[in-house]
């Protein structure tokens, strides 16, 4: 495989819905550079446009102003170098778990043989601990299991960039922690680190996972602050729990989100 490329640049990106009735932009004037192999989280209250940013990066929506560059070239739709994991289980209900992963792999360029694809699917299902439920349909799996299949598919497809939109928010607390550590491990183990853009509203999750946290504001519809996390890796919950840096970061982030809330309430009143 050639040189991996995962550099993303957002230049004055603005997005507003075309339909009438929705006043004002959802995202306004966001400029940001994401380095190759960097793990960046977008965090903010609901309605701050964090999911919209991800949709723009995935190519499902086009910015109404500004542009997004991927390794210097403007994004024009979805692409093979980007994998996406949505908040709600994006599996196809008529395919078994394994077939879902296989279907994803089959869409990748570079024509793998049928046997390789199948072996690869099994390997990644194994990695997320689902080797024995490959033949089940999504409806027969719990929410957490479904999301693990989605992650297995995204990792099996081995894209340079991984875009994740609140992937664990619909999963119960215990499984969420497991999945977060799993994600870190898969990311760390890769031959070359993927660039990950991760959207969340969970402060702890953002700290555990990210190199950098971008705080979005619901009022200004733009970036409020960017915080380098700077905690050493590899990380996991038990190492992180009571360190001073973690607590300080956490307080700072909650403060940032909370002032936002106060402003919002004032505006509403």
């Amino acid at each position: 495989m050639g040189e991996r490329m995962g550099k993303i640049r957002l230049e004055n990106v603005t997005f507003s819905y075309q339909q009438q009735g929705v006043a004002g932009p959802v995202v306004e004037d966001v400029s940001l550079t994401i380095r190759e192999g960097e793990f960046v989280s977008f965090i903010g209250p609901s309605g701050c446009g964090k999911s919209t940013v991800l949709r723009l990066l995935s190519g499902l929506s086009r910015p109404s102003g500004g542009r997004i560059l991927l390794n210097g070239r403007e994004i024009a739709g979805t692409g093979h170098e980007r994998g996406v994991v949505f908040q709600h289980y994006a599996l196809f209900p008529w395919m078994t778990a394994r077939d879902n992963v296989i279907f994803g792999l089959r869409q990748c360029p570079g024509g793998m043989t049928r046997k390789n694809v199948s072996a690869m699917a099994d390997r990644y299902l194994d990695l997320v601990g689902l080797h024995d439920v490959g033949d089940k349909y999504p409806n027969q799996l719990s929410g957490g299991m479904q999301q693990r299949v989605t992650i297995a598919r995204a990792f099996a497809m081995d894209t340079d960039i991984l875009l994740m939109d609140e992937p664990f928010s619909a999963v119960d607390a215990r499984n969420r922690m497991k999945l977060q550590e799993l994600l870190l491990e898969l990311w760390r183990k890769g031959e070359k680190k993927k660039t990950v853009v991760f959207v969340t509203h969970d402060v702890d999750e953002a700290i555990l996972l990210s190199d950098r946290i971008v705080v979005l504001s619901a009022c200004s519809k733009g970036i409020k602050e960017q915080i380098e996390v700077g905690l050493s890796r590899p990380r996991n919950w038990s190492l992180l729990a009571n360190t001073a840096t973690y607590t300080a970061l956490r307080n700072r982030l909650i403060g940032l989100l909370f002032t936002d809330l106060v402003e919002e309430t004032k505006l509403a009143i």
Binding site: L60, T78, G79, F86, F92, P93, W94, Q107, M157
Partner: protein
């Protein structure tokens, strides 16, 4: 308070158990003395009562045989261990309804002789004719299924891909959707005389009529299913970079399969109605033709037997269709 409650509770346990056993034996009794079995008894007794209409012995024996056959079927389904309580109960109800119908029929015709003898044959006679005509029925069935199969599958292979393509393109949908609202509701039966005039053979014209009847429900359901497909599914497919053909046939098609199948079921019912109607008008074979032909000769036992056979065929086709549906939609359970 607690103590008194306990004191009362303990001695009560035994009577409760006795009660339970009584319940069980009562249930066993209810199994034997249910409405189906009672009606079976009444039907047998009724046969011993002399009637006002003269009935050939052979027909009486046919009726008796039929009653025994129904009861045996019912007994087998009750004794079947695999059947759930629900299924057993509906087997009982179904048997009761069939037997009640036979009793009413027998009572009004052979016993009380209330109606015109020619038009309302006795049940024994119809049963005898039915058995006699089975080879003929099979011939008619083969001829009818040929037309039905050709017309219906033609509708499936044209309506589904066409509706997928049109439903997927917003602009095409905007043009075609109002058109379906005008063309769809035209009762296909009105095309019968015209299509007989247009096509060289009766076979062609009836296949065409069946095709029209099945086409619209399948087409309209597929069209609306495609147009209103959940955006989430399309997004999930888009981010996997699927090609358009893959998107249409491997994502949208299975996603809206439930809607397509319900359209196809409706289409099948329509096609069967049209098939028999077309056969009545212009055919010299088939189930519809059979009923029409013998009613022209005032051979009403054959007409009634034919109608009953058509009912059985429709039931079998619907059952077969439901099995396919279950297989195709097993991921939904």
């Amino acid at each position: 308070m607690d103590n008194t409650a306990r004191n009362i509770d303990i001695p009560r346990k035994e009577p409760q158990e006795q009660e339970l056993q009584k319940d069980r034996s009562r249930q066993a009794c209810a199994h034997l003395l249910n409405h189906a079995n009672i009606l079976f008894g009444i039907a047998l007794l009724l046969m011993a009562v002399p009637g006002k209409r003269p009935v050939a012995d052979i027909h009486t024996w046919h009726l008796a045989g039929f009653l025994l056959f129904v009861e045996a079927l019912y007994g087998a389904s009750v004794l079947c261990r695999a059947c759930s309580e629900m299924k057993r109960r509906s087997a009982t109800d179904l048997t009761a309804i069939v037997l009640a119908g036979i009793i009413l029929w027998e009572l009004t015709t052979s016993k009380l002789d209330l109606f015109e003898r020619l038009i309302f044959p006795v049940p024994g006679k119809v049963i005898a004719v039915f058995i006699e005509e089975i080879p003929m029925f099979m011939k008619c069935l083969a001829s009818s299924l040929q037309l039905l199969g050709a017309g219906f599958s033609l509708a499936l292979v044209t309506a589904i891909p066409l509706a997928l393509l049109i439903g997927w393109r917003k602009r095409l949908f905007a043009v075609v959707n109002p058109m379906t609202k005008v063309l769809g509701p035209i009762p296909p039966i009105v095309y019968i005389p015209y299509s007989i005039a247009i096509f060289p053979t009766f076979k062609c014209s009836s296949i065409f009529i069946i095709f029209i009847g099945a086409f619209w429900p399948i087409f309209i359901n597929t069209l609306n299913g495609t147009f209103n497909i959940e955006p989430k599914i399309i997004d999930s497919a888009r981010v996997l970079n699927v090609r358009e053909r893959t998107l249409l046939f491997r994502i949208i098609l299975p996603a809206i399969l439930p809607a397509i199948i319900s359209g196809a079921t409706l289409g099948l019912v329509f096609s069967f109605i049209l098939l028999t109607a077309a056969e009545m008008i212009g055919s010299s074979s088939g189930l519809g033709w059979y009923v029409k032909y013998f009613s022209d000769f005032a051979d009403y036992p054959r007409v009634v037997a034919g109608i009953i056979f058509i009912g059985m065929v429709v039931t079998a086709i619907t059952f077969f269709f439901e099995m396919i549906e279950k297989k195709l939609l097993r991921w939904r359970s």
